[in-house]
Protein backbone atom coordinates (compact mmCIF):
# COMPACT_ATOMS: atom_id res chain seq x y z
CA UNK A 1 0.00 0.00 0.00
CA UNK A 2 2.82 2.35 0.91
CA UNK A 3 4.56 1.40 -2.30
CA UNK A 4 1.42 2.17 -4.24
CA UNK A 5 1.11 5.60 -2.64
CA UNK A 6 4.75 6.41 -3.24
CA UNK A 7 4.35 5.25 -6.84
CA UNK A 8 1.38 7.56 -7.33
CA UNK A 9 2.32 10.30 -9.74
CA UNK A 10 0.22 13.46 -9.52
CA UNK A 11 1.34 14.62 -12.92
CA UNK A 12 0.35 11.38 -14.59
CA UNK A 13 -3.01 11.45 -12.81
CA UNK A 14 -3.58 15.02 -13.93
CA UNK A 15 -2.77 14.32 -17.56
CA UNK A 16 -4.76 11.09 -17.60
CA UNK A 17 -7.78 12.89 -16.16
CA UNK A 18 -7.53 15.76 -18.65
CA UNK A 19 -6.85 13.60 -21.68
CA UNK A 20 -9.31 10.85 -20.80
CA UNK A 21 -12.22 13.16 -19.96
CA UNK A 22 -11.67 15.18 -23.13
CA UNK A 23 -11.37 11.90 -25.04
CA UNK A 24 -14.75 10.80 -23.68
CA UNK A 25 -16.34 14.13 -24.60
CA UNK A 26 -14.79 14.28 -28.07
CA UNK A 27 -15.57 10.68 -28.88
CA UNK A 28 -19.11 11.13 -27.60
CA UNK A 29 -19.64 14.01 -29.98
CA UNK A 30 -17.75 12.76 -33.01
CA UNK A 31 -17.91 8.99 -32.74
CA UNK A 32 -20.21 7.26 -30.28
CA UNK A 33 -23.34 9.27 -30.91
CA UNK A 34 -23.17 9.13 -34.72
CA UNK A 35 -22.14 5.46 -34.66
CA UNK A 36 -24.82 4.35 -32.22
CA UNK A 37 -27.51 6.38 -33.95
CA UNK A 38 -26.44 4.99 -37.33
CA UNK A 39 -26.59 1.47 -35.93
CA UNK A 40 -29.98 2.16 -34.34
CA UNK A 41 -31.28 3.61 -37.56
CA UNK A 42 -30.04 0.61 -39.48
CA UNK A 43 -31.59 -1.79 -36.99
CA UNK A 44 -34.98 -0.08 -37.16
CA UNK A 45 -34.69 -0.09 -40.94
CA UNK A 46 -33.96 -3.79 -40.96
CA UNK A 47 -36.82 -4.62 -38.63
CA UNK A 48 -39.13 -2.41 -40.67
CA UNK A 49 -38.01 -4.09 -43.85
CA UNK A 50 -38.63 -7.48 -42.26
CA UNK A 51 -42.09 -6.36 -41.19
CA UNK A 52 -42.80 -5.13 -44.67
CA UNK A 53 -41.58 -8.38 -46.17
CA UNK A 54 -43.89 -10.23 -43.81
CA UNK A 55 -46.77 -7.99 -44.84
CA UNK A 56 -45.95 -8.42 -48.52
CA UNK A 57 -45.88 -12.16 -48.03
CA UNK A 58 -49.30 -12.05 -46.38
CA UNK A 59 -50.54 -9.84 -49.21
CA UNK A 60 -49.24 -12.27 -51.81
CA UNK A 61 -50.87 -15.16 -49.97
CA UNK A 62 -54.11 -13.20 -49.83
CA UNK A 63 -53.90 -12.40 -53.54
CA UNK A 64 -53.16 -16.01 -54.30
CA UNK A 65 -56.17 -17.22 -52.39
CA UNK A 66 -58.20 -14.52 -54.14
CA UNK A 67 -56.95 -15.72 -57.47
CA UNK A 68 -57.79 -19.26 -56.61
CA UNK A 69 -61.29 -18.23 -55.63
CA UNK A 70 -61.65 -16.30 -58.86
CA UNK A 71 -60.38 -19.26 -60.81
CA UNK A 72 -62.77 -21.56 -59.06
CA UNK A 73 -65.60 -19.15 -59.77
CA UNK A 74 -64.63 -18.89 -63.42
CA UNK A 75 -64.45 -22.64 -63.70
CA UNK A 76 -67.83 -23.01 -62.10
CA UNK A 77 -69.25 -20.40 -64.47
CA UNK A 78 -67.70 -22.13 -67.43
CA UNK A 79 -69.15 -25.42 -66.31
CA UNK A 80 -72.56 -23.82 -65.89
CA UNK A 81 -72.41 -22.26 -69.35
CA UNK A 82 -71.32 -25.50 -70.94
CA UNK A 83 -74.07 -27.36 -69.14
CA UNK A 84 -76.65 -24.83 -70.30
CA UNK A 85 -75.38 -25.08 -73.86
CA UNK A 86 -75.56 -28.85 -73.76
CA UNK A 87 -79.05 -28.71 -72.35
CA UNK A 88 -80.10 -26.26 -75.03
CA UNK A 89 -78.62 -28.48 -77.70
CA UNK A 90 -80.44 -31.51 -76.38
CA UNK A 91 -83.68 -29.58 -76.10
CA UNK A 92 -83.31 -28.35 -79.64
CA UNK A 93 -82.59 -31.82 -80.94
CA UNK A 94 -85.57 -33.28 -79.11
CA UNK A 95 -87.80 -30.48 -80.35
CA UNK A 96 -86.60 -30.95 -83.88
CA UNK A 97 -87.14 -34.67 -83.60
CA UNK A 98 -90.73 -34.25 -82.33
CA UNK A 99 -91.47 -31.67 -84.97
CA UNK A 100 -90.11 -33.88 -87.70
CA UNK A 101 -92.05 -36.91 -86.59
CA UNK A 102 -95.21 -34.82 -86.24
CA UNK A 103 -94.74 -33.50 -89.77
CA UNK A 104 -94.13 -36.99 -91.04
CA UNK A 105 -97.22 -38.29 -89.31
CA UNK A 106 -99.23 -35.41 -90.68
CA UNK A 107 -97.99 -36.07 -94.18
CA UNK A 108 -98.68 -39.76 -93.85
CA UNK A 109 -102.15 -38.91 -92.63
CA UNK A 110 -102.69 -36.62 -95.61
CA UNK A 111 -101.48 -39.27 -97.98
CA UNK A 112 -103.83 -41.77 -96.39
CA UNK A 113 -106.67 -39.30 -96.68
CA UNK A 114 -106.03 -38.66 -100.36
CA UNK A 115 -105.65 -42.39 -100.97
CA UNK A 116 -108.95 -42.96 -99.19
CA UNK A 117 -110.62 -40.23 -101.30
CA UNK A 118 -109.18 -41.62 -104.54
CA UNK A 119 -110.37 -45.04 -103.52
CA UNK A 120 -113.86 -43.69 -102.80
CA UNK A 121 -113.93 -41.93 -106.15
CA UNK A 122 -112.74 -45.08 -107.90
CA UNK A 123 -115.36 -47.09 -106.00
CA UNK A 124 -118.14 -44.69 -106.89
CA UNK A 125 -117.03 -44.69 -110.50
CA UNK A 126 -116.87 -48.44 -110.39
CA UNK A 127 -120.35 -48.65 -108.79
CA UNK A 128 -121.78 -46.31 -111.42
CA UNK A 129 -120.18 -48.35 -114.22
CA UNK A 130 -121.47 -51.55 -112.62
CA UNK A 131 -124.93 -50.09 -112.32
CA UNK A 132 -124.85 -49.08 -115.98
CA UNK A 133 -123.58 -52.51 -116.96
CA UNK A 134 -126.22 -54.19 -114.81
CA UNK A 135 -129.00 -52.07 -116.27
CA UNK A 136 -127.79 -52.90 -119.76
CA UNK A 137 -127.64 -56.58 -118.90
CA UNK A 138 -131.03 -56.41 -117.19
CA UNK A 139 -132.53 -54.57 -120.14
CA UNK A 140 -131.16 -57.17 -122.48
CA UNK A 141 -132.50 -59.94 -120.21
CA UNK A 142 -135.87 -58.37 -119.82
CA UNK A 143 -136.09 -57.75 -123.53
CA UNK A 144 -135.31 -61.42 -124.06
CA UNK A 145 -137.76 -62.79 -121.45
CA UNK A 146 -140.60 -60.54 -122.34
CA UNK A 147 -140.31 -61.18 -125.94
CA UNK A 148 -143.42 -63.38 -125.91
CA UNK A 149 -146.94 -62.66 -124.52
CA UNK A 150 -147.06 -65.69 -122.38
CA UNK A 151 -144.01 -64.89 -120.62
CA UNK A 152 -145.33 -61.39 -119.97
CA UNK A 153 -148.54 -62.77 -118.62
CA UNK A 154 -146.69 -65.22 -116.34
CA UNK A 155 -144.67 -62.44 -114.86
CA UNK A 156 -147.70 -60.30 -114.39
CA UNK A 157 -149.31 -63.10 -112.53
CA UNK A 158 -146.49 -63.82 -110.42
CA UNK A 159 -146.12 -60.19 -109.45
CA UNK A 160 -149.81 -60.02 -108.77
CA UNK A 161 -149.59 -63.06 -106.58
CA UNK A 162 -146.82 -61.63 -104.64
CA UNK A 163 -148.84 -58.55 -103.92
CA UNK A 164 -150.69 -59.16 -100.70
CA UNK A 165 -153.64 -57.10 -100.10
CA UNK A 166 -154.09 -56.52 -96.62
Amino acid sequence: MEKLISEFSVGLFFWQLVIFVSLILLLRKFAWKPILSAVDERETKISEALDQAEKAKAEVARLQSNNEALLREAQAERDAILKAARDAKEAMITEAKTKASEEANRMIEQARESIRNEKMAVMTELKNQLAAFSLEVAEKLVKEQLSTNTKQAELANKLVSEIKLN
Partner: protein
Protein backbone atom coordinates in the same frame (compact mmCIF):
# COMPACT_ATOMS: atom_id res chain seq x y z
CA UNK B 1 -8.23 -25.84 -20.87
CA UNK B 2 -4.98 -23.88 -20.92
CA UNK B 3 -4.18 -24.40 -17.28
CA UNK B 4 -3.05 -28.06 -17.31
CA UNK B 5 -0.72 -27.32 -20.23
CA UNK B 6 0.89 -24.43 -18.47
CA UNK B 7 1.33 -26.48 -15.30
CA UNK B 8 2.94 -29.29 -17.27
CA UNK B 9 5.25 -26.92 -19.09
CA UNK B 10 6.20 -25.24 -15.84
CA UNK B 11 7.04 -28.54 -14.15
CA UNK B 12 9.04 -29.77 -17.12
CA UNK B 13 10.83 -26.49 -17.39
CA UNK B 14 11.75 -26.23 -13.72
CA UNK B 15 13.02 -29.81 -13.47
CA UNK B 16 15.16 -29.67 -16.60
CA UNK B 17 16.32 -26.15 -16.21
CA UNK B 18 17.45 -27.07 -12.71
CA UNK B 19 19.58 -29.90 -14.08
CA UNK B 20 20.84 -27.91 -17.00
CA UNK B 21 21.94 -24.94 -15.02
CA UNK B 22 23.49 -26.98 -12.21
CA UNK B 23 26.74 -27.47 -14.12
CA UNK B 24 27.12 -23.83 -14.93
CA UNK B 25 26.30 -22.48 -11.55
CA UNK B 26 29.71 -22.57 -10.00
CA UNK B 27 31.76 -21.59 -13.01
CA UNK B 28 29.56 -18.70 -13.94
CA UNK B 29 28.36 -17.82 -10.46
CA UNK B 30 29.68 -14.28 -10.40
CA UNK B 31 28.68 -13.53 -13.98
CA UNK B 32 25.12 -14.82 -13.60
CA UNK B 33 24.68 -12.78 -10.44
CA UNK B 34 25.54 -9.67 -12.42
CA UNK B 35 23.06 -10.64 -15.11
CA UNK B 36 20.40 -11.29 -12.47
CA UNK B 37 20.76 -7.85 -10.91
CA UNK B 38 20.85 -6.31 -14.36
CA UNK B 39 17.65 -8.07 -15.36
CA UNK B 40 16.02 -7.10 -12.08
CA UNK B 41 16.89 -3.45 -12.52
CA UNK B 42 15.80 -3.64 -16.14
CA UNK B 43 12.40 -5.00 -15.14
CA UNK B 44 12.02 -2.34 -12.45
CA UNK B 45 13.02 0.29 -14.92
CA UNK B 46 10.56 -1.03 -17.48
CA UNK B 47 7.69 -0.89 -15.02
CA UNK B 48 8.43 2.72 -14.12
CA UNK B 49 7.39 5.83 -15.91
CA UNK B 50 10.22 7.81 -17.45
CA UNK B 51 10.84 11.33 -18.62
CA UNK B 52 12.16 10.38 -22.01
CA UNK B 53 11.01 7.91 -24.62
CA UNK B 54 13.59 5.17 -24.74
CA UNK B 55 13.23 2.71 -27.57
CA UNK B 56 16.26 0.56 -26.79
CA UNK B 57 19.78 0.67 -25.51
CA UNK B 58 22.69 0.15 -27.88
CA UNK B 59 26.21 -0.32 -26.50
CA UNK B 60 25.36 1.64 -23.39
CA UNK B 61 23.83 4.60 -25.21
CA UNK B 62 20.11 5.27 -25.23
CA UNK B 63 18.22 5.39 -28.49
CA UNK B 64 14.98 7.35 -28.32
CA UNK B 65 13.75 10.90 -28.09
CA UNK B 66 13.37 13.44 -25.26
CA UNK B 67 10.02 14.66 -23.95
CA UNK B 68 9.09 18.01 -22.40
CA UNK B 69 9.49 18.41 -18.64
CA UNK B 70 6.93 20.70 -17.04
CA UNK B 71 7.51 21.58 -13.37
CA UNK B 72 5.62 23.84 -11.00
CA UNK B 73 8.01 25.11 -8.38
CA UNK B 74 7.03 28.68 -7.43
CA UNK B 75 6.67 29.31 -11.12
CA UNK B 76 6.58 27.31 -14.30
CA UNK B 77 9.73 25.52 -15.42
CA UNK B 78 9.75 24.07 -18.89
CA UNK B 79 12.62 22.26 -20.57
CA UNK B 80 13.35 19.09 -22.51
CA UNK B 81 14.21 15.90 -20.69
CA UNK B 82 17.41 15.64 -22.71
CA UNK B 83 18.79 18.19 -20.21
CA UNK B 84 18.97 15.38 -17.60
CA UNK B 85 21.05 13.15 -19.87
CA UNK B 86 19.20 10.12 -18.48
CA UNK B 87 19.73 11.24 -14.91
CA UNK B 88 23.44 11.75 -15.28
CA UNK B 89 23.49 15.54 -15.19
CA UNK B 90 21.71 18.37 -13.42
CA UNK B 91 19.25 20.46 -15.37
CA UNK B 92 19.07 24.17 -14.84
CA UNK B 93 15.89 26.15 -15.40
CA UNK B 94 15.22 29.78 -14.42
CA UNK B 95 17.91 29.67 -11.75
CA UNK B 96 16.73 26.41 -10.17
CA UNK B 97 18.56 23.10 -10.45
CA UNK B 98 16.78 19.78 -10.88
CA UNK B 99 17.95 16.24 -11.01
CA UNK B 100 16.45 12.80 -11.51
CA UNK B 101 16.54 10.32 -8.66
CA UNK B 102 14.81 6.98 -9.34
CA UNK B 103 12.97 8.63 -12.20
CA UNK B 104 11.60 11.37 -9.98
CA UNK B 105 12.49 15.04 -10.29
CA UNK B 106 13.99 16.73 -7.20
CA UNK B 107 15.21 20.24 -6.66
CA UNK B 108 18.91 20.29 -6.01
CA UNK B 109 21.96 22.54 -6.14
CA UNK B 110 24.43 23.05 -8.96
CA UNK B 111 26.38 19.99 -7.88
CA UNK B 112 23.26 17.81 -7.93
CA UNK B 113 23.55 16.58 -4.34
CA UNK B 114 20.74 14.41 -2.96
CA UNK B 115 20.39 13.91 0.78
CA UNK B 116 18.74 10.70 1.90
CA UNK B 117 16.88 9.96 5.15
CA UNK B 118 17.02 6.72 7.11
CA UNK B 119 14.59 4.98 4.74
CA UNK B 120 16.68 5.88 1.69
CA UNK B 121 14.09 8.48 0.68
CA UNK B 122 15.48 11.81 -0.56
CA UNK B 123 14.75 14.80 1.65
CA UNK B 124 15.12 17.22 -1.26
CA UNK B 125 12.05 19.18 -2.32
CA UNK B 126 10.12 17.47 -5.11
CA UNK B 127 8.41 20.03 -7.35
CA UNK B 128 4.95 19.35 -8.79
CA UNK B 129 5.76 17.38 -11.89
CA UNK B 130 3.39 17.81 -14.83
CA UNK B 131 5.88 16.55 -17.37
CA UNK B 132 4.83 14.87 -20.56
CA UNK B 133 6.35 11.59 -19.52
CA UNK B 134 6.54 8.45 -21.59
CA UNK B 135 3.14 7.33 -20.29
CA UNK B 136 1.49 10.71 -20.86
CA UNK B 137 2.92 10.67 -24.35
CA UNK B 138 1.48 7.19 -24.91
CA UNK B 139 -1.94 8.21 -23.56
CA UNK B 140 -1.92 11.09 -26.02
CA UNK B 141 -0.98 8.78 -28.85
CA UNK B 142 -3.74 6.32 -27.93
CA UNK B 143 -6.27 9.16 -27.55
CA UNK B 144 -5.41 10.53 -30.99
CA UNK B 145 -5.47 7.03 -32.45
CA UNK B 146 -8.94 6.44 -30.99
CA UNK B 147 -10.19 9.81 -32.20
CA UNK B 148 -8.96 9.07 -35.69
CA UNK B 149 -10.17 5.45 -35.71
CA UNK B 150 -13.68 6.04 -34.37
CA UNK B 151 -14.01 9.42 -36.05
CA UNK B 152 -13.37 7.90 -39.46
CA UNK B 153 -15.60 4.99 -38.53
CA UNK B 154 -18.50 7.31 -37.73
CA UNK B 155 -17.96 9.15 -41.01
CA UNK B 156 -17.89 5.89 -42.93
CA UNK B 157 -21.51 5.25 -41.91
CA UNK B 158 -22.61 8.21 -43.97
CA UNK B 159 -20.75 7.18 -47.11
CA UNK B 160 -21.61 3.51 -46.60
CA UNK B 161 -25.36 4.06 -46.32
CA UNK B 162 -25.53 2.89 -42.71
CA UNK B 163 -22.89 0.21 -43.05
CA UNK B 164 -19.42 0.60 -41.56
CA UNK B 165 -16.41 0.56 -43.84
CA UNK B 166 -12.83 -0.51 -43.25
CA UNK B 167 -11.78 -0.82 -39.62
CA UNK B 168 -15.39 -0.18 -38.58
CA UNK B 169 -16.34 -3.64 -39.78
CA UNK B 170 -14.10 -5.08 -37.09
CA UNK B 171 -15.00 -2.51 -34.44
CA UNK B 172 -18.76 -2.48 -34.88
CA UNK B 173 -19.37 -5.99 -33.48
CA UNK B 174 -17.33 -5.01 -30.41
CA UNK B 175 -19.34 -1.81 -29.94
CA UNK B 176 -22.56 -3.79 -30.36
CA UNK B 177 -21.29 -6.40 -27.90
CA UNK B 178 -20.65 -3.69 -25.31
CA UNK B 179 -24.10 -2.27 -25.93
CA UNK B 180 -26.07 -5.54 -26.06
CA UNK B 181 -24.15 -7.74 -23.63
CA UNK B 182 -22.61 -5.32 -21.14
CA UNK B 183 -24.65 -2.11 -21.00
CA UNK B 184 -28.23 -3.23 -21.60
CA UNK B 185 -28.28 -6.34 -19.33
CA UNK B 186 -26.54 -4.52 -16.46
CA UNK B 187 -28.00 -1.03 -16.66
CA UNK B 188 -31.32 -1.68 -18.31
CA UNK B 189 -32.99 -0.61 -21.53
CA UNK B 190 -34.20 2.64 -19.98
CA UNK B 191 -31.00 4.26 -18.72
CA UNK B 192 -28.15 2.63 -20.61
CA UNK B 193 -27.77 5.30 -23.30
CA UNK B 194 -26.18 8.00 -21.16
CA UNK B 195 -23.45 5.62 -19.94
CA UNK B 196 -22.51 4.29 -23.37
CA UNK B 197 -19.91 6.98 -24.10
CA UNK B 198 -18.01 6.26 -20.92
CA UNK B 199 -18.23 2.47 -21.24
CA UNK B 200 -17.10 2.42 -24.86
CA UNK B 201 -14.27 4.87 -24.26
CA UNK B 202 -13.01 3.09 -21.17
CA UNK B 203 -13.16 -0.32 -22.86
CA UNK B 204 -11.26 0.68 -25.97
CA UNK B 205 -8.84 2.87 -24.03
CA UNK B 206 -7.82 0.08 -21.63
CA UNK B 207 -7.68 -2.49 -24.38
CA UNK B 208 -5.56 -0.46 -26.79
CA UNK B 209 -3.28 0.77 -24.03
CA UNK B 210 -2.81 -2.81 -22.80
CA UNK B 211 -2.01 -3.96 -26.33
CA UNK B 212 0.59 -1.21 -26.67
CA UNK B 213 2.05 -2.46 -23.40
CA UNK B 214 2.70 -5.82 -25.07
CA UNK B 215 4.72 -4.31 -27.90
CA UNK B 216 8.50 -4.00 -27.50
CA UNK B 217 8.08 -0.24 -27.12
CA UNK B 218 7.89 -0.97 -23.40
CA UNK B 219 5.18 1.56 -22.64
CA UNK B 220 3.17 0.24 -19.83
CA UNK B 221 0.40 2.68 -19.09
CA UNK B 222 -2.07 0.60 -17.07
CA UNK B 223 0.50 -0.56 -14.54
CA UNK B 224 0.59 2.97 -13.11
CA UNK B 225 -1.64 3.29 -10.09
CA UNK B 226 -2.37 6.91 -11.08
CA UNK B 227 -3.97 5.73 -14.33
CA UNK B 228 -6.14 3.03 -12.79
CA UNK B 229 -6.99 5.40 -9.93
CA UNK B 230 -8.15 7.97 -12.44
CA UNK B 231 -10.34 5.44 -14.27
CA UNK B 232 -11.76 4.05 -11.02
CA UNK B 233 -12.52 7.50 -9.62
CA UNK B 234 -14.40 8.35 -12.81
CA UNK B 235 -16.50 5.20 -12.41
CA UNK B 236 -17.10 6.14 -8.78
CA UNK B 237 -18.09 9.72 -9.60
CA UNK B 238 -20.43 8.68 -12.40
CA UNK B 239 -22.03 6.07 -10.14
CA UNK B 240 -22.46 8.55 -7.30
CA UNK B 241 -23.81 11.41 -9.36
CA UNK B 242 -26.20 9.35 -11.42
CA UNK B 243 -27.49 7.49 -8.35
CA UNK B 244 -31.22 7.55 -7.75
CA UNK B 245 -33.13 7.58 -4.46
CA UNK B 246 -33.27 3.79 -4.34
CA UNK B 247 -29.49 3.53 -4.41
CA UNK B 248 -29.02 5.71 -1.35
CA UNK B 249 -31.98 4.03 0.30
CA UNK B 250 -30.23 0.70 -0.05
CA UNK B 251 -27.05 2.08 1.46
CA UNK B 252 -28.34 4.03 4.44
CA UNK B 253 -31.67 2.41 5.21
CA UNK B 254 -31.77 -1.07 3.70
CA UNK B 255 -35.41 -1.96 3.21
CA UNK B 256 -36.79 -5.27 4.38
CA UNK B 257 -34.41 -5.83 7.33
CA UNK B 258 -34.99 -5.07 11.02
CA UNK B 259 -33.99 -1.61 12.31
CA UNK B 260 -30.88 -2.67 14.27
CA UNK B 261 -29.61 -4.50 11.20
CA UNK B 262 -30.13 -1.35 9.17
CA UNK B 263 -27.79 0.50 11.51
CA UNK B 264 -25.17 -2.21 11.13
CA UNK B 265 -25.56 -2.45 7.38
CA UNK B 266 -25.34 1.29 6.65
CA UNK B 267 -21.58 1.70 7.34
CA UNK B 268 -20.83 -1.59 5.58
CA UNK B 269 -22.78 -0.55 2.51
CA UNK B 270 -21.20 2.89 2.55
CA UNK B 271 -17.75 1.33 2.74
CA UNK B 272 -18.78 -0.97 -0.11
CA UNK B 273 -19.32 1.98 -2.42
CA UNK B 274 -15.64 2.87 -1.99
CA UNK B 275 -14.37 -0.68 -2.09
CA UNK B 276 -16.01 -1.35 -5.44
CA UNK B 277 -14.03 1.27 -7.42
CA UNK B 278 -10.97 0.52 -5.27
CA UNK B 279 -11.11 -3.10 -6.40
CA UNK B 280 -11.40 -1.89 -9.99
CA UNK B 281 -8.26 0.15 -9.54
CA UNK B 282 -6.23 -2.63 -7.92
CA UNK B 283 -7.46 -5.37 -10.27
CA UNK B 284 -6.39 -3.62 -13.43
CA UNK B 285 -3.11 -2.40 -11.94
CA UNK B 286 -2.14 -5.75 -10.44
CA UNK B 287 -3.09 -7.86 -13.44
CA UNK B 288 -1.06 -5.85 -15.90
CA UNK B 289 1.89 -5.37 -13.56
CA UNK B 290 2.03 -9.04 -12.67
CA UNK B 291 1.74 -10.04 -16.32
CA UNK B 292 4.65 -7.80 -17.24
CA UNK B 293 6.85 -8.93 -14.36
CA UNK B 294 6.31 -12.61 -15.17
CA UNK B 295 6.75 -12.03 -18.86
CA UNK B 296 10.00 -10.11 -18.48
CA UNK B 297 11.34 -12.51 -15.87
CA UNK B 298 10.86 -15.41 -18.22
CA UNK B 299 12.50 -13.53 -21.05
CA UNK B 300 15.29 -12.66 -18.62
CA UNK B 301 15.71 -16.35 -17.77
CA UNK B 302 16.96 -16.90 -21.31
CA UNK B 303 20.01 -14.83 -20.49
CA UNK B 304 20.54 -16.51 -17.15
CA UNK B 305 20.42 -20.13 -18.36
CA UNK B 306 22.44 -19.55 -21.50
CA UNK B 307 21.95 -23.12 -22.70
CA UNK B 308 19.83 -24.49 -25.50
CA UNK B 309 17.35 -26.34 -23.31
CA UNK B 310 16.60 -23.66 -20.74
CA UNK B 311 16.62 -20.82 -23.21
CA UNK B 312 14.44 -22.51 -25.77
CA UNK B 313 12.05 -23.58 -23.05
CA UNK B 314 11.81 -20.09 -21.66
CA UNK B 315 11.36 -18.80 -25.18
CA UNK B 316 8.45 -21.21 -25.63
CA UNK B 317 7.02 -20.24 -22.26
CA UNK B 318 7.37 -16.55 -23.06
CA UNK B 319 5.55 -17.20 -26.33
CA UNK B 320 2.67 -18.96 -24.58
CA UNK B 321 2.53 -16.22 -21.97
CA UNK B 322 2.41 -13.53 -24.64
CA UNK B 323 -0.70 -15.15 -26.04
CA UNK B 324 -2.14 -15.33 -22.55
CA UNK B 325 -1.30 -11.65 -22.03
CA UNK B 326 -3.11 -10.79 -25.25
CA UNK B 327 -6.16 -12.43 -23.74
CA UNK B 328 -5.61 -10.66 -20.41
CA UNK B 329 -5.34 -7.29 -22.18
CA UNK B 330 -8.84 -7.70 -23.60
CA UNK B 331 -10.17 -9.46 -20.53
CA UNK B 332 -9.17 -6.68 -18.14
CA UNK B 333 -10.77 -4.10 -20.39
CA UNK B 334 -13.90 -6.26 -20.44
CA UNK B 335 -13.94 -6.74 -16.67
CA UNK B 336 -13.46 -3.05 -15.99
CA UNK B 337 -16.26 -2.10 -18.39
CA UNK B 338 -18.52 -4.87 -17.18
CA UNK B 339 -18.13 -3.97 -13.49
CA UNK B 340 -18.52 -0.25 -14.21
CA UNK B 341 -21.76 -1.04 -16.01
CA UNK B 342 -22.85 -3.16 -13.07
CA UNK B 343 -22.23 -0.29 -10.64
CA UNK B 344 -24.05 2.16 -12.90
CA UNK B 345 -26.87 -0.32 -13.11
CA UNK B 346 -27.17 -0.52 -9.33
CA UNK B 347 -27.15 3.29 -9.16
CA UNK B 348 -30.05 3.80 -11.54
CA UNK B 349 -32.01 0.71 -10.61
CA UNK B 350 -35.58 1.27 -9.53
CA UNK B 351 -37.05 -1.20 -7.07
CA UNK B 352 -40.64 -1.94 -6.35
CA UNK B 353 -40.69 -2.07 -2.58
CA UNK B 354 -44.33 -2.98 -2.23
CA UNK B 355 -43.65 -6.27 -3.93
CA UNK B 356 -41.51 -8.93 -2.33
CA UNK B 357 -38.05 -7.87 -1.29
CA UNK B 358 -35.28 -10.08 -0.03
Amino acid sequence: MLKPYITAIFTFFIVFAGFASAGHNEAQGAESKDIKTEIKSYINHHLQDSHDFNLFELNGSHVGFPLPVILWDNGLHLFLSSAFHHGETVAESNGNYYTLFHNKVYRTDAAGSITLDDHQHPTNVAPLDFSITKNVFMILVVALLMLWMFGSMSRSYKSGKGLPQGVGRFLEPIILYIRDDIAIPNIGEKHYKKFMSYLLTVFFFIWIVNLFGLTPLGVNVTNNIAITFCLAILTYLITTFSAKKDYWMHIFWMPGVPAPMKLVLAPIELLGTFIKPFSLMIRLYANITAGHIVMMSIIGLMFIFKNWLGSSLSFFLAFVLSILELLVAALQAYVFTMLSALYFGSAVEEHHHEEAHH
